[in-house]
Symmetry: C2
Subunit: 234 residues, 2 copies
Amino acid sequence: MSKTNFKILEKPKRRRRTPASARREILDAAGRQLTKAGPDGLRLQTIAADLAISHSSILHHFGSRDGLLDALSKDAFAGLERDLKQSFAQPSSGDPATDLFDKIAEILSERGYARLLAWQLMSGRGPGESVAADSAGGAAQSTVGDESETGGLLDRLAPTVHALRLDHARDQGMSAPEIDETRRLLAFTACAVFGEAFAGELMLHASGLPHDTDSRTQFRHWVAKTIETQVFPD
Amino acid sequence: MSKTNFKILEKPKRRRRTPASARREILDAAGRQLTKAGPDGLRLQTIAADLAISHSSILHHFGSRDGLLDALSKDAFAGLERDLKQSFAQPSSGDPATDLFDKIAEILSERGYARLLAWQLMSGRGPGESVAADSAGGAAQSTVGDESETGGLLDRLAPTVHALRLDHARDQGMSAPEIDETRRLLAFTACAVFGEAFAGELMLHASGLPHDTDSRTQFRHWVAKTIETQVFPD
DNA sequence: AGCCCTATTGACAATTTTGTAAATAGTGTT
DNA sequence: AACACTATTTACAAAATTGTCAATAGGGCT
């Protein structure tokens, strides 16, 4: 048959990435899909389609779907910690504490970290691992101790914040707070910030408040301020 | 050959449920799987296995997998609202507000509501969606218009709480707060309570605090108290 | 008892998804 | 230029998952 195939036009162009950048792109796409389409978006095909590559390529770089998900989990935590540390390091303009909470809240909600975290928690591949009743053993590997790292993030933050609180209390002529109270406040703050990042828009909406991007940012600022008055009471 | 099949022992025993109770059991099992195994547990086979029935039975009652998930979403909201309303109705011993927050937090975290809510939010079948067009009316599902109901839950709560705040402010000789401030506080409270319910254990753990059941309950009480002082400042 | 309705099941089809193996094609090296 | 290495793809196999359909059986009814 008159095969009208113009070999000239054929473009078997492949883009060849370095293993590192390939993994990065794939992880990014996976995170993107997760935050956009939810846990159901975490199919090899979906992710591959998002990058316009074949799913086999993903398997080549991560061995298996589970390998990818594990890497995604690890990567999310690494990224979160990196961004947080960077935020900690940056000089804050204005109220130091408020500004910090502000940044953290933004990091959590802006990039997909809140959803990534939620997914990890839900699918049981996160740091929490209540380890309640695992039917058939199986997953006994867990290459790295990410848990201890992240598990202690707030813990490592506690002394610093507590020192600030002690200073503050002295300045205000108040009695010195307990370290555990500071810990509780940190845990509470983390819960609130996470909740805001994950469900803030819904809650604003449910309260009858405007929930566009600007209002959301404004709300975040207000939340940061509110929490600050808890941690550093007048 | 020597087929040692004792027909006497054969137990083709089927349990025949009413459609209502079948749906209920299936929805419960689905919720159970979701909170236990995460979104990946939401396979027809998994749910069916949990109930020791065939997956066809589920399809019979819900038409399709999506039908089940929709029903699960609706049911979760209905249940949450029911439990909340019941909690609202019950007389509170002690601080009314604190007690209420307390109960809400417990409801959210104890039963799987927090995770159900999170799943809904992530998979995009939550209430934040159908917000706009409620007047469509085409879908005459018997259940209820849960979205609109819940979407305005905090909104409908606002006047009540605000009245309390006005009274409180007068008693304390403070200037009257704005209604939007009350709304923001409600939204904030919702975020915090949800965050605590969903990730409280992790956060406690991350802060270096004990995270057993008792400590968790204690922490919830403390959170409730803390929030109360925000809503009703001294 | 016999009959009807339908919840339930088992077997099967269709589609999706993960995984495997060999072929293809960039990229750097000699 | 020829070669080696391997990222990438294509084609295919295997498993899992959803959905269909006819047969089975539980429970209410007369």
